[in-house]
Symmetry: C2
Subunit: 319 residues, 2 copies
Amino acid sequence: MAVYTEVTDEALAAFLTLYDIGRMVAFRGIAEGVENSNYALKTTTGDYILTLYEKRVNTDELPWFLGLMEHLAAHGLSCPLPVRGLDGGNLKPLAGRVAAITTFLPGVWPRRVQVEHCEPLGAALAKLHITGAGFAPTRMNALGPHGWAPLLEKSLPRADEVLPGLGAELTTALAGILAAWPQNLPVGHIHADLFPDNVFFLEGKVSGLIDFYFAATDIYAYDVAVCLNAWCFERDFSFNVTKSQALLRGYLAHRNLDAAEQAALPVLAQGAALRFLLTRLYDWLNTPPGAMVTRKDPLDYYRRLRFHQHATSEAAYGL
Amino acid sequence: MAVYTEVTDEALAAFLTLYDIGRMVAFRGIAEGVENSNYALKTTTGDYILTLYEKRVNTDELPWFLGLMEHLAAHGLSCPLPVRGLDGGNLKPLAGRVAAITTFLPGVWPRRVQVEHCEPLGAALAKLHITGAGFAPTRMNALGPHGWAPLLEKSLPRADEVLPGLGAELTTALAGILAAWPQNLPVGHIHADLFPDNVFFLEGKVSGLIDFYFAATDIYAYDVAVCLNAWCFERDFSFNVTKSQALLRGYLAHRNLDAAEQAALPVLAQGAALRFLLTRLYDWLNTPPGAMVTRKDPLDYYRRLRFHQHATSEAAYGL
């Protein structure tokens, strides 16, 4: 579900006068995305996406996200290009929210990840890292390692409701991960949430990357570790090393991972698993049962974390 | 929310080979509609809607619905045209469901009904009735007056949980409505669910009618009464007679309502209010709190019913 804010036709018509994208032809809510309200907007000049940023998004940070997307699109990466209004701005108020129009990307995200998706995905991630390097402003990763202890603390009193002993186990795991966290790896802009539903494919090729609202300036190899978590586990939580080899092969064809980056993959992958475990755990404990949101099971990432804890070197990922 | 069934990209690709509509360009779940799963599908030949029929739909009845839509579209009414596959059929299995592709309609449904919407809506309803008359097969209205007593019976034991005394009051109201139900009014194919979210407008004109899955062969004026309920009440449940006059003016410009049809409007409107009250009441009492569906308050229609019970003649609607 991803329409939290309804837009009246009058408000939409008034909003469109602020842009030079033609007259409205169609407007439909999209049942994808989790944080924001998204609409497919068709005008006489083409297809667009209208996004209304909901409460969990810090609107002060939107110019950075849209700036990054604009930079990436201008340099040839297929991602949503924020459309500028007649006044030159790309963020405007609508229906009590801040809203943006972006270009529409072709493709479909893979509901069932196949080995064939992983090499192009890895290549697209490397291209994102390389292309993003030219964008000067930085953004601290609020959901990076510094954010994990406070996040865990909020869930700790009730963590054992999900699994007996979970609180103590996560406390130990977090301490170990932070102690081993690499300090001098190459850093740049990362997507930080490149799950399958944020990657469109068309005829076997990546046709676009979307949803840059967790992007930040952080360790490049951490972004690889996020993708290892998101793309390489099967439904039974077994790790498919053929997929990770394909993902890394695609990445390495465009951007090198030096020895230190490769050696750090197990702890980076533990950190990535913990990061998604912690936000899911918080949501699980704090989403009222009647809410119109699918609560995602935090234990899916507990199982991934356990796998990475047993990875003694990058060889676990097929390197 | 209206994506209950996920379609894998492989299943979609295989499905599209059964049609001559080009190659897939994009595929997004639509957050509209209640009963079925709907996707916006873009191919190299244009825009379509892919619908997967969910469990509440009796698939044996789908050929009638699609036949009616095909008839209406062929005779100039703007409604989704079911696309026939290479084998000539317009219903095919997909992801464990029966699915159909229809053409995409321009326009946007009015989130906030204005007086200006009501005359074109009335005209569109009359045109639907006139155009549908050439379609020979009939379908009994399962949610017509014969269906209301069994529907009420299912909710009766718990109706007072919603409002003390509601069960007794609805029992009395139903008996009165059925006793007064008109027997010899003109009958034909009606939409039976023409709410604002099923009517697209573009630049002040109706650009399309959708969602024919409650359509049936029943009293034409009952369809008018459904629209009086759906379009002419304000958010505070006051009745806006300027809207009903506009709606009826639009209707009468294309199809006459004879004296008997006009005189029956109060009881038809009571029946229409009761019909939506009963299905909402049932859903309210039987939707688990965690379900991904917005439960609609049945008492919205209790208030409408009360208005119509005080209508002593068609003059209440501005005639």
